[in-house]
Symmetry: C2
Subunit: 157 residues, 2 copies
């Protein structure tokens, strides 16, 4: 059984070490869970998934790690207005998967969509450029989210 495989499970090690962060069990566990989970996990969601396999990783470490990951650009910190932050991997080993969000205010379901991304991205770039020039702003992030009721919640009167 060959050692030292560098595909997949360890792709963030470089980014981590490059910024002077230590590689710890907790951090690997959290990234492991994030990369094998679909969707938008809260800190507690992650804690619950990590805990069975790594019972000595505390919730505090989850928060601290997510903060680091978010600063490194490895995860996005999302806010869907339900009072807790949610996180998703910015990109897997396979590359980026840019998308925006459609949030149901009835059941809190969140749909990733990428259908209109091309037009949106183009407009966003124009807008960012224009705003940046006009207001002397260095824009480095945007939030686009649609809120409404999904088919199920819409049916219920």
């Amino acid at each position: 059984m060959p050692r030292g495989n560098c595909q997949g499970q360890g792709w963030w090690h470089g980014k981590f070490r490059g910024c002077g962060y230590r590689l710890t069990t907790g951090r690997e566990a959290i990234l492991d869970i994030l990369s094998r989970s679909e969707g938008h996990l809260s800190a507690e969601d992650i804690y619950i998934k990590v805990h069975p396999r790594y019972p000595n990783v505390g919730l505090t470490t989850i928060y601290r790690t997510l903060d680091v990951l978010s600063n490194l650009g490895i995860v996005y910190k999302l806010d869907f207005g339900d009072g807790r932050a949610r996180y998703e991997l910015a990109e897997g080993p396979k590359g980026a998967h840019h998308h925006h969000h459609l949030v149901c205010t009835g059941c809190n379901r969140v749909i990733d969509y990428a259908d209109f991304i091309d037009e949106e991205v183009e407009l966003l770039q124009q807008t960012e450029k224009g705003l940046g020039k006009k207001y002397n702003f260095r824009i480095n992030n945007h939030v686009i989210q649609f809120y409404g009721l999904c088919d199920k919640c819409n049916g219920k009167k």
Copy 2:
């Protein structure tokens, strides 16, 4: 001195009464402050502005009233990611003043902009229509915000 003037100061009374809400001093005070203030006030900001003139309006009432106003569509509840909700009047007596936001993550300054609104709104409408059809969603709200560093914060290295 004529009584019963209906311009300005009381334009929301109708909307209020129409929904079965009572008109109270606290509610009028809060709307008064909101309509004579620029910008994006937190509940506590409003409390501080209301308190000198109406010392017996509590913070709880501010929260409750803002919730009602937000449900009635009279104010927008905004989240700029600084851990507290902010509120702005949806429209004054003069009518709507649609705009989006540019948020400085350095100093939390928020700039209202309306420059690219037309194009944005058009794209939004298209997107809402497309998404609504594709995912069977009734979209009734969207959030567009740009985050970055303002000229001042950008200068500080």
